[in-house]
């Protein structure tokens, strides 16, 4: 079962209200996404902890409905510039 990009972004923002969330549908199939999540809440956290915070916001969808979400997290200071 697939998820819409907007639903993924909304769930992440509900869990991490200060986050900037960018979602890319990698194959246009609604099943393989890449997400960049930038949040001040990540300051002082390890990368594993940052990803766990995003997975917690997704409340069990990751690994279930959401098979493939390539996740990148960063603090605003470390965010990649486009």
């Amino acid at each position: 079962m697939a998820m819409e990009a907007a639903d993924i972004a909304q769930m992440i923002k509900e869990g991490l209200p200060d986050a900037e969330v960018t979602i890319e549908d990698l194959r246009g199939d609604g099943d393989h996404y890449a997400a960049l999540v930038v949040s001040p809440a990540f300051r002082g956290k390890s990368r594993v902890q940052q990803h766990q915070m995003v997975y917690a916001a997704l409340r069990g969808k990751m690994g279930g409905d959401l098979h493939a979400l390539a996740l990148q997290t960063a603090t605003p200071e470390d965010a990649p510039k486009f």
């Binding site: 990368r47 990803h51 997975y55 990751m62 690994g63 279930g64 390539a70």
Partner: protein
């Protein structure tokens, strides 16, 4: 945290082996692109690791996710420490951090 025999098994695995990858399939025959990607990264670095196929054991498949509070497979451990899944390993490989960590831990010369 305790009382789960699978957790004891995982603790044993990651203390007996310096580098452990819980994965779908085997290092020779990965059954998932994400697992294959991590196998490739480790192989390119010349890292010896123990690949553990979670597909053959449903209790291990669930247990390893609970053990780390991490929802996906693959999962990489170095010297008993959970390093991350495919995304983190890829990122660390790309920026050289993984090689640095493996040298620091005495896995790579």
């Amino acid at each position: 945290m305790s009382g789960n025999p699978v957790f004891d098994r995982i603790k044993q695995d990651i203390s007996d082996n310096p580098v452990v990858l819980y994965m779908k399939g085997t290092p020779m025959f990965p059954q998932c692109g994400f697992s294959a990607a991590v196998v490739q990264i480790l192989s390119e670095l010349g890292v010896k690791f123990k690949g553990i196929d979670i597909l053959v054991d449903p209790s291990l498949r669930e247990g390893v996710k609970q053990f780390t509070n991490w929802p996906t497979i693959p999962q990489l451990y170095v010297k008993g420490e959970f390093i991350g899944g495919c995304d983190i390993v890829r990122e660390m490989a790309a920026n050289g951090e993984l090689e640095g960590l493996l040298k620091e831990k005495g896995i790579l010369a």
